[in-house]
């Protein structure tokens, strides 16, 4: 979808929708928000809605960073300790690799 052809109000509402939807445990929407609206928010000449869009993009980026940190920590811990957790590890797993503990 080409943002060039949209009027500014619709751009703002799109950005807001993505920002709000990302709170439903969907950090990818925040990633999309950041990437898509980055040029709009920071590199286009100023227009009225741009301030709001800038705010949404910044908050999406923050949320995204938080998610990345949490997921990376959890994945590292799980991959490292799953074998030692025995039963708990098995019940948390969706697929258990064959042939290694």
């Amino acid at each position: 979808m080409n943002l060039e052809r949209l009027p500014n109000e619709e751009k703002l509402s799109l950005c807001r929708k993505y920002y709000l939807a990302g709170f439903a445990f969907l950090p990818f929407l925040w990633l999309v928000n950041v990437v898509w609206f980055f040029r709009e928010a920071f590199f286009k000449p100023t227009y009225t809605e741009q301030l709001q869009i800038k705010a949404y993009v910044k908050r999406s980026a923050l949320g995204l960073l938080l998610w990345v940190a949490v997921l990376t920590t959890w994945i590292t811990i799980f991959q490292h300790f799953r074998a030692e957790w025995g039963e708990v590890g098995d019940y948390l797993s969706f697929t258990i690799p064959l042939g290694i503990p």
Partner: protein, 633 residues
């Protein structure tokens, strides 16, 4: 449980400098991981432990199996077989626990019970193995101390195992039904026991039978070795059950005239090597009224252990000193021993007791004693430690028992040739039965031939039903289904102890004598076997065999009780695996591989750049002699 897919260089360890070569593999060699080709004299515990400890540099071991048995003994089993599941625990009698009095298998090095992180294969010493050795000599040998140059000879052994850690973990993972495609990773070891009785017993009515007093005559069917699917068990298993089969036939002939006052229950246990799977299951079934008789009906137990090698022509009668402290048990055992000794007088064998207070050797009778004190005797050919130097190894084969045939004999002739071993077993048999009875020497010799040399022979073919005929000798290793030895013993026992009533095939397969018969199936089991072809035709004439032979499930009670960490019962499971194979090839150096990759990537990037440049200058390059640019497209 092993890790798959390591490529490494083969490195034969020669006999000449084993320590130096081992250091090369484990410490100094420049191209780890290595795959070790081990000649069989070096397949010992110290070397295998060193390889196991250095397993980051060892990718696998291939043992070259010799064509003849090694002169010294070799037993990968433990020194005290089944020490935790027999009857001699700390509570029963601490003086006898853990083989304190007699170490039954002194040559045992316990290799089968260690955990290895790499595959260990066994190769026959034939042309293929020679190719491997030649590949090493051509490419991998260090010349004058310098390191060998690429390309090097590499070998890959593939034996991926799905299960890990222990039985409790893998059984738990079998049960998880959360994922989309649940995968079974391991199966409990299990098979079937074979049993029969001299008088028909109602098998449908389980539990105690009034006025029935049985003597259990037991033998073991199974054996194992370090490697998969080579477990001949000639002395440890076959000698015992062949003797019992021949005794069963001889007794059938004798009891035609006069029934003994006690019913004899012949039992052949499977899975005894792995903590008494078969006998523990039978005792458990008897205790929970799932078997045709129960423990109150059992009068005594007579077990035939390893009887194939008889040094000094002696047989030894082992009994349990702890249960014999009870005077009634003591009296019964004394009577039994006196009977056996009386019967052996005048024969070529002498029968004695060990002469000092010694626990029972590892035997199925121990599981019966665990339930309650029962009088019983175990017959073996060793006074204290085993005479079998190859207990539970791949060398416990026909050659060890001297089951040998003159060369140039056809399979048919070999089937009928009476070997020395057969004669030895018959003598054991002769004293076993308390009167002189007709025995069939040719049957024993045929059984030894069939179980130790060649299973697909004409006599066995006659005894089995037609749907098994094409698979004889080729039945693979299966779990929880009936394995080939069990099936063969079942049909053999039926043939030797049963009768052949004249009934139609339809009735026979429906377990009845005629259309109205509803009672026979409780007492007998009917089998339709394919028989032999008469001399002037090729069509086999089948017939029905009626016998009291039954199969009883031999799966450890721990799996029914779901107690996977049980110390009372066997908890052995076997991992599932993918195909097992190996291959050798020449491998290039790492630098050459990186160079090839680099050149490829370079070609890719160059072609991309070239395409971009040409496409951006396309109008300049391709416009000469063309229409002017206002053509529409």
């Amino acid at each position: 449980f092993v890790h798959p897919n390591f490529i490494a260089d083969p490195f034969p360890i020669t006999e000449k400098r084993p320590e130096e070569n081992l250091d090369w593999v484990l410490k100094t060699g420049p191209n780890p991981p290595y795959l070790v080709i081990l000649e069989s004299p070096l397949f010992t515990r110290p070397i295998m432990m060193k390889l196991k400890n250095g397993s980051s540099r060892v990718a696998g071991v291939a043992v070259v199996a010799p064509n003849a048995n090694p002169p010294k003994g070799f037993s990968p089993h433990t020194t005290c077989p089944n020490e935790n599941t027999g009857v001699y625990t700390e509570e029963y009698d601490p003086a006898f626990a853990h083989c304190n009095v007699t170490m039954w298998n002194p040559l045992g090095n316990g290799l089968s019970y260690e955990e290895y992180d790499f595959p260990i294969f066994s190769m026959k010493d034939d042309n293929d193995t020679q190719i491997i050795r030649q590949c090493y000599l051509d490419h991998n040998r260090a010349v004058n101390g310098s390191t060998p140059q690429y390309p090097l000879c590499a070998m890959q052994l593939y034996s991926h195992m799905s299960a890990v850690t222990d039985t409790a973990t893998c059984m738990r993972r079998n049960d998880i039904n959360f994922s989309i495609s649940p995968e079974m990773v391991c199966d409990p070891l299990g098979d079937y026991n074979v049993w029969a009785s001299t008088r028909p017993i109602n098998n449908t009515a389980k539990g105690h039978k009034m006025f029935e007093s049985v003597v259990i005559a037991a033998a073991r069917l199974d054996s194992r070795s370090f490697f998969f699917d080579i477990a001949p068990g000639a002395e440890s298993g076959v000698s015992g059950f062949v003797t019992l089969l021949a005794a069963a036939q001889a007794l059938r002939n004798a009891t035609q005239e006069a029934q003994p006052n006690r019913t004899i229950l012949y039992t052949f246990f499977q899975g005894e090597t792995f903590d008494y799977i078969g006998s523990s299951r039978m005792v458990y079934d008897m205790q929970s009224n799932q078997f045709a008789v129960d423990l109150d009906n059992v009068h005594s137990v007579l077990e035939i252990g390893q009887v194939g090698l008889r040094a000094d022509s002696k047989l030894w009668l082992h009994s349990d000193p702890v249960s014999m402290k009870n005077s009634s048990v003591n009296n019964e055992v004394r009577k039994l021993i006196v009977n056996l000794q009386t019967a052996s007088r005048g024969l070529n064998v002498s029968v004695e007791e060990p002469g000092f207070s010694q626990p029972l050797p590892p035997s199925s009778f121990q599981r019966f004693l665990r339930a309650r004190p029962i009088p019983g005797v175990v017959i073996e050919d060793h006074q204290s430690a085993f005479t079998n130097r190859f207990y539970e190894s791949m060398y416990d084969n026909a050659e060890y028992l001297n089951v040998s045939y003159p060369t140039n004999m056809t399979p048919e002739e070999q089937l009928e040739f009476v070997t020395e071993t057969a004669k030895v077993l018959i003598v054991s048999l002769n004293f076993l039965l308390s009167r002189s009875v007709l025995f069939s020497l040719c049957k024993v010799t045929r059984m030894l031939y069939g179980f130790l040399v060649r299973t697909n022979n004409s006599w066995f073919q006659q005894l089995i039903p037609s749907d098994l005929a094409s698979h004889l000798g080729k039945l693979g290793h299966t779990f929880l289904k009936i394995s080939e030895p069990t099936l063969l013993v079942q049909y053999l026992l039926a043939n030797l102890t049963g009768s052949t009533p004249n009934i139609t095939q339809d009735n026979c397969q429906n377990q009845r004598e005629d259309e109205e018969d509803k009672e026979s199936k409780h007492f007998y089991y009917y089998m339709w076997v394919q028989g032999a072809a008469p001399p002037n035709s090729t069509q086999r004439e089948g017939y029905c065999v009626r016998s009291t032979v039954r199969l009883s499930k031999a799966l450890s009670p721990a799996f029914d009780l779901r107690d996977y960490t049980s110390t009372n019962f066997s908890t052995w499971t076997e991992s599932r695996w993918k195909s097992i194979k190996g291959r050798i090839f020449l491998v290039a150096s790492h630098d050459l591989e990186m160079l090839t990759l680099g050149v490829g990537v370079g070609v890719l990037i160059t072609s991309l750049i070239l395409t971009y440049v040409i496409s951006s200058k396309a109008d300049m390059l391709f416009s000469a002699g063309r229409e002017p640019a206002n053509a529409t497209y």
